[in-house]
Symmetry: C2
Subunit: 203 residues, 2 copies
DNA sequence: GGATTACGATACTGGTCGGTGCCGTATCGT
DNA sequence: ACGATACGGCACCGACCAGTATCGTAATCC
């Protein structure tokens, strides 16, 4: 959370203000939710702060009371949508990958927001370092469980010890992202199976 | 070319105006070139028509004399950058793919404009049908030579006749686009070799 | 009750941008 | 020479937008 908080001269955390009317926690969540919705619908640049305020049922002042700029609001919204993924460890590489990639397929069909924001985030990242960092975080978030499963597979002897894990992950995630962003072709379990047959044959 | 030309009531092509000063062909090319440059540098939305005029060394009026809107100018500029690719037919699938993908790698390192525009084009395509069509054209343009080579490979018995060519192409281009747009990892010949080892083992 | 802060509503500022209009000048065909 | 069109330069319009300011009201603590 990057919400606005006063900072004392000595750098100590100020005791969160006790006097006066407290900030509504519901507004926090509704503002973040509205930001994610609009960002997925019309893009980060395409949405105005007035739009966000209206969608959240909130006045613009209430937004700027919490975040100093649109960019920082978007960053917080993205982070709120990037929860850590469930760790998967079935004891079998094939089952792991099927579970991880199958979950990704589910998220595509479920119209998960982060997925719809991706094309907009990629674009903004080309000229905004802070948002580029968020995109990198998301990218790594998706890679970590795959890498963990493949490393366990090496330990168990299911994967050759000198396998290039990065390339294997690229070969699994790359075609999925490619279909999502470029071709628009359907991404289903059959496609996942076809990819696995290429990358981890026999599993 | 979508340049502005009057259309007669009966729909016949008007004889290109003979009277008066003729339009400079150099301005056409410099405007298109400036559009591509700026689109790759600051994005399609990030560039203003004043920017294009200045970069092209041209007045804004000269742009609007040729194109009725920014969108149509961008479309023409994209088409001017999407020349047909050289057809590759070495008689061997492995050599074909290496040539085609190697050329793609060259274009990446050569800072080819179309490549730098890609993230911006993907974003705009989410809310602009006309530009979406241009992106689709580019996507197919990249797939065609790969498909042709693989089909020849089937005829020669180098590829199994029931191979899923679309998925194979996805598996080759997907990881490349993925690295370009998401991870930022280097895309070199070694990476191409690794992908080919997965998709067309032994070739 | 009084001080303090949050809230909605609204207006406003300053800047940007797509697109138009006008001017004086340049370049063509006749 | 003359009519017609292109050209650069520039001012301009209308819309949009991030961010600020103000005001009356509501909620909380002391």
């Amino acid at each position: 959370m990057i919400a606005v908080t006063a900072t004392r001269r000595d750098g100590s955390e100020p005791t969160p203000t006790l006097r006066g009317r407290p900030r509504s926690k519901e507004l926090d969540t509704s503002i973040l939710a509205a930001t994610l919705e609009l960002a997925s619908e019309v893009g980060i640049n395409g949405m105005s702060m007035d739009d966000v305020a209206q969608r959240a049922g909130v006045s613009k002042a209430s937004i700027y009371r919490r975040w100093p700029s649109k960019e920082l609001l978007v960053i917080d919204a993205l982070r709120s949508a990037m929860g850590p993924l469930d760790t998967v460890d079935t004891g079998d590489v094939g089952a792991d990958l099927r579970a991880i990639l199958g979950d990704l397929v589910q998220r595509f069909s479920a119209k998960e927001r982060m997925n719809d924001i991706l094309p907009h985030l990629i674009e903004v990242s080309t000229h905004d370092a802070a948002l580029r960092a968020e995109l990198d975080a998301y990218t790594q978030l998706r890679r970590v469980p795959l890498r963990a499963s493949l490393e366990r597979g090496i330990k168990r002897g299911e994967i050759e010890p000198d396998a290039d894990l990065d390339t294997m992950i690229d070969a699994l995630l790359g075609p999925i992202i490619y279909r999502r962003l470029l071709t628009g072709a359907t991404i289903d379990d059959a496609f996942i199976e076809a990819l696995m047959a290429l990358v981890v044959p026999g599993r």
